[in-house]
């Protein structure tokens, strides 16, 4: 019986560190959650042309700016991974902090956007479109918040050169959050 603390990256299952396997399982389950939500939206959007009237209200520029922010944060996340592979914990931590800053920027822009929409009467109960809009964007924003918080913990350890494998794990999760937004953007902002 070993007294050593189990570390996800040292244990393996199915020829893969268990930490990474867990992240991929999370993503597989998230595909069903977000995929289900988006598929529902597409079905209702196709069956109800009047959705276009509400969709025309969303601000494409704000949606595009947030896409730019998430793509940029994905770049810093993958560069952090590259730095971790090269055992440069300080650089990885700094890049993860940039990524977290991207998450904060995204959330600030989103909150300003929602404030404008709600003040004009477009609340979650205003119409089925707005119900989908706030549910999908809200669920996505919750993932952004969770990712940013986890990233700060990972960056704290990475700065000390500890647990560098986690930089890749949070990166994989963050890129998935980016991919979800890549599909939300045309559905909620472009398809008028």
């Amino acid at each position: 019986m070993s007294a050593a603390k189990p570390i996800a990256n040292l244990r393996t299952a199915a020829e893969m560190p268990t930490g990474k396997l867990a992240v991929w399982w999370i993503i597989a389950s998230e595909i069903v959650i977000f995929g289900g939500l988006l598929a529902s939206y597409i079905m209702y959007r196709l069956a109800h042309p009047e959705f276009a009237v509400d969709a025309a209200v969303t601000n494409t520029f704000i949606g595009g700016f947030n896409t730019l922010v998430l793509l940029t944060s994905s770049l810093s996340a993958v560069l952090a991974h590259q730095a971790a592979v090269e055992n440069d914990g300080k650089k990885a931590a700094r890049l993860l902090l940039y990524t977290a800053a991207g998450a904060v920027t995204f959330l600030v822009v989103k909150s300003i956007e929602w404030t404008m929409e709600i003040s004009h009467g477009y609340t979650i109960t205003a119409s089925p479109f707005w119900s989908f809009y706030y549910t999908a964007a809200g669920l996505h924003a919750a993932h952004v918040i969770a990712g940013a918080i986890i990233m700060l913990f990972v960056a704290k350890d990475a700065a000390k050169g500890l647990e560098l494998h986690r930089v890749e794990l949070i990166g994989i999760y963050w890129h998935f959050v980016d991919v979800v937004w890549i599909f939300l953007f045309p559905l909620l902002y472009i398809a008028k």
């Binding site: 990256n9 389950s29 995929g35 009237v53 494409t60 940029t72 590259q82 009467g121 990166g171 045309p186």
Partner: protein, 138 residues
């Protein structure tokens, strides 16, 4: 702290060894391609041609997602079963929605009768009127 370092070193070595067998792609170049595609997806729908909108908005979204999954998430470098795991979830989700879509989307015909939904008059007009209608006290 010393104990943590004792754990950290083998972790780092395992991490480095795991990735030593492949070169990192040019992430900056991929980033610029993604930004160019973002611009295309925003400009395309301005022509207000349905086919162009579908290609530039949704077709480009698929390409962007592919680039991120392949180059940033490195899915192509993972064990093959990870691809199967993720795609199985995606396929079953799509199968489910393909099966229920006829019921959800078709609202007429003897086999597809749905209970009538009472929609307020203002909401029936949609748009801004619907939003203001929802705010009125009942």
């Amino acid at each position: 702290m010393a104990k943590e370092h004792a754990h950290a070193h083998p972790v780092e070595h395992a991490h480095s060894a795991q990735h030593s067998d492949h070169a990192h792609p040019n992430y900056i170049k991929i980033y610029w391609i993604l930004l160019a595609l973002l611009v295309v997806s925003m400009i395309g729908p301005e022509f207000e041609i349905q086919v162009v909108t579908l290609i530039t908005a949704f077709g480009v979204a698929l390409v962007k997602a592919y680039l991120v999954v392949k180059n940033f998430m490195h899915l192509n470098l993972e064990k093959r079963y990870v691809v199967y795991m993720v795609s199985t979830c995606l396929i079953f989700m799509l199968l489910f929605f393909a099966a229920v879509a006829p019921d959800v989307m078709k609202q007429e015909g003897s086999g597809w009768i749905k209970p009538k939904v009472n929609v307020p008059a203002a909401a029936a007009d949609h748009g801004v009127e619907a939003a203001h209608g929802a705010e009125q006290p009942h």
